[in-house]
Amino acid sequence: MIDHPTSQVNEDSLRINQVRIAPTFAEAFDMKATRIVITAADPYWALQAGQAISGFGTSVIDCKIEIDIESILSPEETPDGRPGVAILAFAMSGGDLEKQIVKRAGQCVLTCPSSALFNGIVASEHDDAKTFALGKTLRFFGDGNQISKLTKGTRYWRIPVMDGEFICQHDGARVGGIGGGNFLLLGSDFAAVSAASRAAVDAIAMMPDVITPFPGGVVRSGSKVGSKYPALIASTNDAYCPTLRGIVDSELSQQDNVVLEIVLDGLSFDAIAAATKAGIHAACDLAGGKGLNAISAGNYGGKLGRHHFHLHQLLA
């Protein structure tokens, strides 16, 4: 248990370790989510497959999926008793999610030496769970030599590949999720905000049911909806660009020269709330009074997403 510096609960002046917490909220959206489990002969190959399938998966804006490694799994935690990784993925529709997962599994997991692929969602624990084809589609790579095995009510496919067999569960499962939880770290210099953001991501990495899909969990090109260019659906979040202070309606003070954002996707409101809280506390613990000035969050006035994470309510 880590003792965090005491929060001051005054709405207008909530601070954690001298870091001002803005009286605002993060606005997040309903998404479709899945968890898959990748195992391999050793942790190296499991991680390689996990990293490959989660490449180019930072934002649905252009990747069509937000995907990242949720956790590293010990052999005791995986279906086949080998080391593995759990991957969480989110998309705006079930169709997008299924299409992306199968394509990525085919190119990034099936191809990885010694890998195997399993569903990571217990469908019976979710009222809204729906199955989708995983091995059911990938099996055709076996060109007729694939073998099906049904055990404990679950079907697996054994697909011959050049290092033996690729084992893949017949179905994955998707459930409702939430994407776009976020908080912004405002600071005086890059070193301080970078260190704070990394501390936050490290803390969030320990939390279940959430991912931070951007590079290293952090995004420096936060976006607003729309653009002066009609073809673009998003453009730079000018209110938080320090170089635009003085020419746009900025949200930054004169001391805020660097802003980094952490975006969180999760399987539930509570998971994102807990991770947001842990991340902010970790950042403030590390860099409060050392260049991290404030924590804020991105929203659209509450008009677009139905999930609102009010920072003061989370942290008070």
């Binding site: 086949d80 008793g81 697996y156 033996g164 084992i167």
Partner: protein, 264 residues
């Protein structure tokens, strides 16, 4: 749910055809007052309660338990579909014929055609799990289409003959030359090396029907739920394995997985 406990009334050496003794018929009899289940003894129709004492108890799952002198009783657990069918003692042929689901456990040995077609039928078991603590006779898994058979001890001739799919685990000895005749698909797992491989003439005989034995990593066995003692299977997974594809003489893509007993 109901637990039916049946005790054979006598040790009389008659041949009983028990294929009508199914969970479905027992339940129909219980719920709708359907007439007595009719079995056949030495070819003559006999009511169930003339051969067995039947007791009922409440249970979490439908369970049928059969005790007594069962060596002349054929086709027990035929077409069993859900819940458990427990057989205490050695029993006759066609156990779990045409099995559809659920679990059949035999605390003893069984005769021929375990999990195969019922007499006069074409299809073997299409689902479910069979566990035999003792041995099984000839034609174990004949025309088996789906499900799992586990035999803790030996099996007879023609193991997995014309097998279509499913999994067969044998922990004891078997008749090597007649293995997997006409096997189309499915998996046979042997936890002991095949002695036949040490006899050049038999190995040559097998080579006409089986592919070359190749080194094989049976990682999928980690996923399988075997209900028999797990230790021999764990040892098997950790040891060097070989795999045949069978029966090549009919274009079959079945597999026989067994511990390496080099040279192969």
């Amino acid at each position: 749910m109901t637990h039916w406990i049946l005790n054979r009334k006598s040790n009389e050496a008659v041949q009983i055809d028990a294929r009508n003794l199914t969970r479905r018929r027992l339940r129909e009899q219980l719920e709708s007052g359907a007439g007595q289940i009719m079995l056949h003894a030495d070819g003559a129709p006999v009511l169930l309660d003339e051969l067995f004492d039947v007791q009922l108890q409440p249970s979490a799952v439908d369970r049928i338990e059969v005790h007594g002198h069962l060596q002349g009783v054929d086709a027990l657990a035929s077409y069993h579909d859900q819940g458990e069918f427990l057989i205490h003692g050695d029993t006759g042929n066609h156990v779990a014929a045409g099995l559809q689901g659920g679990r059949v456990v035999v605390h003893g040995s069984v005769g021929d055609s375990l999990g195969g077609p019922a007499p006069g039928a074409k299809a073997g078991m299409v689902g479910g799990v069979i566990q035999v603590d003792g041995s099984a006779g000839d034609y174990c898994g004949h025309r088996m289409r789906r499900g799992l058979i586990q035999v803790n001890q030996n099996v007879g001739r023609n193991l997995a003959a014309s097998m279509i799919a499913g999994t067969l685990l044998v922990q004891g000895e078997l008749d090597g030359p007649s293995i997997a005749v006409g096997m189309r698909r499915g998996t046979i797992v042997l936890t002991r090396p095949l002695e036949a491989l040490n006899q050049p003439s038999l190995a040559q005989h097998l080579a006409a029907r089986l592919s070359t034995a190749v080194s094989f990593d049976a990682g999928f066995l980690n996923l399988m739920e075997f209900t028999v003692e797990r230790a021999p299977i764990e040892r098997l997974i950790r040891s060097p394995l070989r795999r045949w594809r069978a029966d090549r003489s009919v274009g079959g893509l079945g597999e026989v997985i067994f511990p390496a007993n080099d040279p192969v």
